[in-house]
């Protein structure tokens, strides 16, 4: 099935407006990454999110969960009612990734948790000699967290070649630019020095993302993989792009209308 980034962003805006929720920019930066993963790489036999033969995708940066919900709607794992009732009293979908939602593998939002869960799944899959792959998407701000690097050391030592970490390098964290808070310099060289195969791509170029992921798996390397995706926080709506206010700003009627207008005008 084909995923249309513009449609996914429209669903995100609908949810954010319906629920008066924050974290729109965090969701927009990972739309192309998620759409390529769900469209081309993640296997869910019979479209069953609980299939024992599924690949595992963990959104460790739980703040981007609206993008995942939007993809889950495309897969018919969520209904239109789920979207329009977002954040209504008694509804199920939370503002951060929660494993009680079918289709979401781990609870995140407290950052630096999901990657270790993914390392455990990849380790278990290797021990069981099963072929499913594990992908974990983390934020660049999130890799401030110590357990990420504990897991990176472990994954490299145990040659978890079935594990891929994807870093959404949008250059921001909650309170500002990553370079002004804890500078990360070259994320790719950090992962390489820890024993990962690593590549950097334009995180909004669907073809480049697909090619990079395919190449990683084709290489047959024993190393775990790190895909560094250079992205734009707020990508897709001109007045949100690279503006960190949309980490926390909520939509009102007028800004929702302008956002939809900008989205329709743009090419992503």
């Amino acid at each position: 099935m084909k995923f249309n980034p513009k449609k996914i962003r429209k669903t995100i805006l609908d949810m954010a407006y319906a629920g008066s929720s924050v974290h729109i920019g965090c969701a927009f930066s990972i739309v192309e990454l998620l759409s390529v993963l769900y469209e081309k790489h993640l296997s869910y036999p019979n479209n069953n999110p609980l299939s024992e033969k599924r690949d595992y995708f963990i959104l460790s940066k739980g703040h981007g969960v609206m993008a995942q919900y939007a993809c889950m709607k495309e897969l018919s794992w969520l209904s239109n009612e789920d979207i329009v009732n977002y954040f209504s009293d008694g509804s199920d979908l939370k503002g951060l990734a929660d494993s009680h939602t079918i289709g979401i593998e781990a609870t995140s939002g407290s950052l630096g948790h999901g990657f270790s869960v993914g390392v455990g799944i990849a380790m278990g899959a290797k021990m069981r000699k099963i072929q499913q792959k594990t992908y974990v998407l983390v934020g660049d701000g999130e890799i401030n967290e110590g357990p990420i690097w504990e897991g990176v050391l472990f994954a490299a030592h145990h040659e978890l070649s079935n594990l891929m970490i994807i870093v959404d390098e949008n250059g921001f964290q909650a309170m500002g630019r990553t370079q002004d808070i804890i500078g990360l310099d070259s994320i790719q060289s950090k992962f390489e020095s820890f024993g990962f195969d690593a590549m950097t791509v334009d995180g909004h170029d669907r073809v480049a993302i697909d090619k990079a992921i395919t190449k990683f798996w084709k290489d047959n390397s024993v190393r775990p993989k790190a895909l560094i995706a250079k992205t734009l926080k707020g990508k897709g709506v001109d007045f949100m792009e690279d503006d960190n206010r949309w980490h926390y700003t909520r939509l009102d009627k007028e800004s929702y209308r302008m956002a939809i207008q900008s989205l329709n005008k743009g090419d992503s």
């Binding site: 609870t107 455990g120 278990g124």
Partner: protein, 305 residues
């Protein structure tokens, strides 16, 4: 208890290939037998406890049965959030063993001493807390934990204090076990872990008729059984090598406040870190948990009744 723990782990590992033993580079010779008997089921996760617990969640999701070992200062204290979010939130079948609880590492200071672990773990939803007193209770607790298949913290205190039971007691999850019985007793002691032995010794050195109970399960605990003990007693003394806040004494006081008010003396560590270094016995004395200080305090408490 260490030999018993080692044997129980080997038995579990051999009976179920899904059992995995994870350690954060702790345990020293404790795991020699397990490593020999079940080498593919042993993972030294390195000095990286947070990642270890997250990994245990991932492994449990694939059907493994992780047993995560560490010192109780680290498991559960250092990794409390991982236990909450990654494990207990989903009721994953992971057993956490926190060894050396209380003042076992008496020479090593605050970082290795642990009087907060019961309080911190028992407030986490879905997480059970077991606290065996001797090798018999340890075997029972581990077996119950495995069969229960939920998220469990198992606290192990000072080794080598001797048995409190003469033979394996028949217990089910939540039970309290009577370890010393007096005819026409007016008072009850409820103790857990390393302090059960002390509670028995104190009761044997007081003129009053006292029933002594061991509480190998802090959570869940059989509330009705605790209520019955309260009902049958004029006063109750609780014993634990743990802070007086949030542990067994608090638990008994909570049940008492909700059901049957009784005067309760909590024999527990005061709200302070250790000041000095010394033997285990020295540290107990510093925290007023040595035999003679407890004896005096309990004696005065019962006299006042």
């Amino acid at each position: 208890m260490r030999k018993t723990l080692s044997n129980a782990l080997v038995d579990l590992g051999k009976s179920d290939p899904n059992i995995l033993l994870l350690t954060g580079d702790h345990g020293y010779a404790l795991f020699d037998d397990f490593r020999r008997e079940c080498p593919k089921q042993y993972i030294n996760a390195g000095i990286a406890e947070q990642n270890m617990v997250g990994m245990a969640a991932g492994l449990a999701r694939l059907g493994f049965r992780p047993i995560v070992y560490g010192l109780s200062a680290f498991i559960p204290i250092r990794v409390l959030e991982q236990i909450k979010i990654d494990i207990a939130h989903d009721r994953l079948p992971v057993i956490f063993i926190g060894d050396g609880a209380g003042f076992v590492y008496s020479h090593l200071g605050t970082s290795h001493q642990s009087i907060e672990d019961i309080a911190c773990s028992r407030v986490i939803p879905n997480l059970s807390v077991y606290s065996p007193a001797d090798r018999f209770e340890l075997t029972q607790c581990l077996s119950s934990a495995y069969q229960d298949g939920s998220s469990i913290y198992l606290r192990i205190g000072k080794d080598g204090l001797g048995d409190v039971h003469h033979f394996p007691p028949k217990i089910k999850i939540g039970d309290l076990v009577k370890v010393n019985s007096a005819s026409q007793s007016k008072y009850s002691f409820i103790a857990t872990g390393s302090m059960v032995k002390t509670a028995i010794d104190i009761s044997n050195n007081l003129p009053e008729a006292i029933d002594v109970w061991s509480a190998p399960f802090i959570k869940p605990i059989d509330n009705l059984m605790v209520e019955k003990i309260l009902r049958d007693s004029e006063a109750v003394v609780t014993f634990e090598e743990h802070s007086k806040y949030g542990g067994l004494g608090s638990l008994v006081a909570e049940i008492s406040a909700e059901s049957l008010p009784r005067k309760i003396l909590k024999v527990a560590a005061n709200d302070r870190f250790s000041q000095r270094c010394g033997t285990y016995q020295y540290l107990l004395k510093e925290h007023k948990l040595d035999f003679s200080t407890i004896h005096k305090n309990v004696h005065n408490f019962l006299k006042g009744e």
